[in-house]
Symmetry: C2
Subunit: 457 residues, 2 copies
């Protein structure tokens, strides 16, 4: 009887995951069962594969969910993060291993002792970011430490962007993932990091004005804004003594400065509802955030309020979104400003069928070895095939699939609720990813850190 | 047996309240019982007054609290807002009327039906703001409506500031009330109001850059920033059809532009703790919010970050607070940025013994009468005596005392959890306030609203 892997939730991000598992199914003696509310959207190559079964499953139907989990050898949950926990409890009840690409929630973490006691592996954060970032960082950090190096600096940046040939709007950006997450990015508290031993805090309303620049050979210049908490993996990565820890999100240069317009206006606020949003024009929406005037135009009020010069490229970006259009109407009733903004952006930033996305990741490692400072930079670029087969789906789905196989084959043995920072998982996954075109390039560069000797005060 | 009024909580704001009640005690046959954790701070003129009793009371001691409430005819709670509810429940249990100067909380509002059923009066928001603002506004609104006028516009502004002779720092500001409330002012959601029929929203980080100017005859120019929710009294005031509703907080001109520096830096954030705050210098604190540099000074980084010109008066305001001092140390351990900022400001903004504070209030009423538009402006200025006998304590305490007497004498009859918007309370209170030097001046002015005909587009 083949070994059954249950994949719960088969959305956009599951295409590569399912392809990879089915490709290995014969050799690895697998059966892949896909369980989702609706399974009609699955391509025939998957749904009709002889090693594939599909099951219509309502995740809130406890009995059906438990029955599906019980019959599997291992469970992959590709559900929205808030829904993992119920599945995890089922896995615990029936003694099944679990793999997710999501951040470990409080509830998930609380299961750790029970998971260990049963000798199970609940592997989380094994997608792209979090996922490939953990694995690629730990591989280098462990290598530096093994050589006797002492980590001084770690910076890590990831971006879900567009391949150059599809990078054809003024924002250099389209939605390749959950639009709502993009609109709300950075909210919920100040960004926290440490530079040269000094803690630094950036409030949300300044986040998009404190960007750093990054070069990726062959792909030009990018910018990055700080993630909310760069210190969260300090212990897990063994970087307690590093002087600089910074994690950020990459965009093409100029995106953040323009995005800041929305932040400053208050358009990314998700905390209250606009009662009369449905039927409101884009122009009226903008005017909600500007002072009243009986005479002055929305345009001039906005330019003056945020000091936007007449020839500033930001203006073109706002026009591209039709932001001042009095005829375009908002559809969402009783929407928060963030929901309205998302609706406006979705009208402009959707991938067309042939658009190709691009994932970029960039790490900087600074370290001390034999009394000398060194720096190693590494980066990864992955380009998607089209609107459906995105680099995002590939880089999220493949490590999940590879991690699941390693766990199924007991090559990953450490039990517990965990993330992929052990060599037993990152070494084989990174090797197999590289065979599938997801590889890092490394560059030895002069140590710069944040305190280059060459700068005089 | 004299009629006992129980005053729970006898802090800074209670001086005028107690004086007033004791002044009336003989004529009104009152006994004033003061209950507080410690009562040592009471001046002898109060504590030894023949009509005064003091009782040491721990508010969390339910039995003692209930005993005190039971023996009174009416209860005045001057406790922090979060503590009113327990007292309110005691009042309900023993059938006592209650007076507070605080906003009606959800919990308090939930008692309304029971309070009505028992024929009790729980009068809240009868201090300064809220309090005198409600009463003085409703008196004019009711008068306009009685004449057949239709309200078009209502704007209301209050400020706790300094008398001109004590207005001797660059901020034109000192703490005359709870410093924490000043530091956190405006947080917790976007400001919402309506201008000429259009809803307007201001996010916190823009609040202090969207001020309005106001003139008060004899006192010069003031500025005002919007309160969080100007729409909350729309129904209570009967202003459902008014095109403009705006409530704001008054400061001297220039305060908000300088305060905005703290907001922009993130220093007013109360949502996280700085682990190493104790012993940190003021200068290091500022540097937490600025980019790292091995060479550039905190001063230049701040000037550049927030674009502060060399000759901008804002800079003098920051220097006056010793913000860049490397020798002044923060005392509070594990403090939020807001707590540190409060500590820094308290070192600079405390009233000296002879300092006099000043309360200003300003209303604008726009209305339509017989097809014509009119505007009535009214304002009130009250100057304090010294650090202890402040205009703040007077304007908060006196209406509470007067309201309590009216309720005790059954001149206010409407039962329920309420605010002072009925003529039966605002007429006698405003009259008695005027006899005590708290009076409004009214000015008929040309109707301007926000859409003056004289401005052409």
């Amino acid at each position: 009887m083949p070994r059954r892997i249950l994949v719960i939730g088969a959305g956009k991000s599951a295409a590569y995951l399912l392809h990879y598992l089915l490709e290995q199914a014969q050799a690895e003696d697998l059966e892949v069962e896909i369980a989702d509310k609706t399974v009609d959207h699955l391509p025939e190559t998957i749904a009709r594969h002889e090693r594939c079964r599909v099951r219509s499953l309502d995740i809130s139907d406890e009995q059906a969910r438990r029955a599906a989990v019980k019959e599997a050898r291992l469970v992959i949950s590709m559900l929205p993060p808030s829904l993992h926990l119920e599945v995890a409890k089922d896995c615990l009840a029936f003694g099944k291993n679990l793999v997710t690409a999501s951040y470990i929630s409080e509830g998930m973490r609380a299961l750790d002792q029970e998971v260990r006691d049963k000798g199970l592996v609940f592997m989380n954060e094994i997608g792209l970011d979090p996922g490939i970032d953990h694995m690629s960082a730990m591989q280098v950090i462990d290598r530096i430490k093994a050589r006797g190096g002492k980590m001084l600096l770690f910076e890590s940046f990831t971006g879900g962007l567009l391949a150059p040939e599809s990078d054809n709007n003024l924002w250099n950006y389209k939605f390749t993932w959950n639009p709502r997450n993009v609109v709300l990015a950075g909210q919920g508290g100040a960004a926290k990091f440490i530079q040269e031993g000094t803690y630094k805090y950036i409030p949300y309303h300044k986040l998009f004005r404190r960007t750093e620049f990054l070069e990726i050979q062959g792909y030009g210049t990018f910018e990055a804004y700080a993630n909310r908490d760069s210190l969260s993996y300090r212990l897990a990565y063994g970087l307690e003594n590093a002087l600089t820890l910074y994690r950020g999100t990459m965009r093409r240069v100029g995106f953040s400065r323009a995005w800041n317009i929305f932040v400053q206006l208050g358009m990314t606020d998700d905390s209250y509802r606009i009662a009369n949003s449905k039927g409101m024009s884009y122009r009226e929406f903008v005017n909600l955030f500007l002072p009243y005037s009986p005479t002055d135009s929305v345009e001039l009020k906005l330019r003056h309020y945020l000091k936007i010069d007449q020839d500033d490229i930001i203006w073109g970006k706002l026009l591209e979104l039709k932001l001042f259009d009095a005829n375009r109407k908002i559809q969402t009733p009783n929407a928060s400003p963030a929901q309205v903004l998302q609706e406006i952006l979705e009208a402009s930033w959707m991938l067309s069928p042939e658009d190709r996305d691009m994932i970029v990741m960039y790490h900087k490692f600074g370290y001390l070895l034999d009394g000398k400072k060194y720096q190693l930079d590494s980066n990864m670029v992955v380009v998607g095939e089209n609107q459906r087969l995105t680099a995002m789906a590939k880089t999220v789905g493949l490590p999940v699939a590879m991690g699941a196989l390693l766990i199924l084959n007991q090559q990953v043995k450490k039990p517990g609720v965990q993330i992929p920072i052990q060599a037993e998982i990152y070494e084989p996954v990174l090797k197999t990813l590289a065979e599938n075109g997801i590889a890092f390039r490394e560059y030895e560069v002069p140590y710069l850190g944040y305190n280059p000797d060459s700068v005089a005060s």
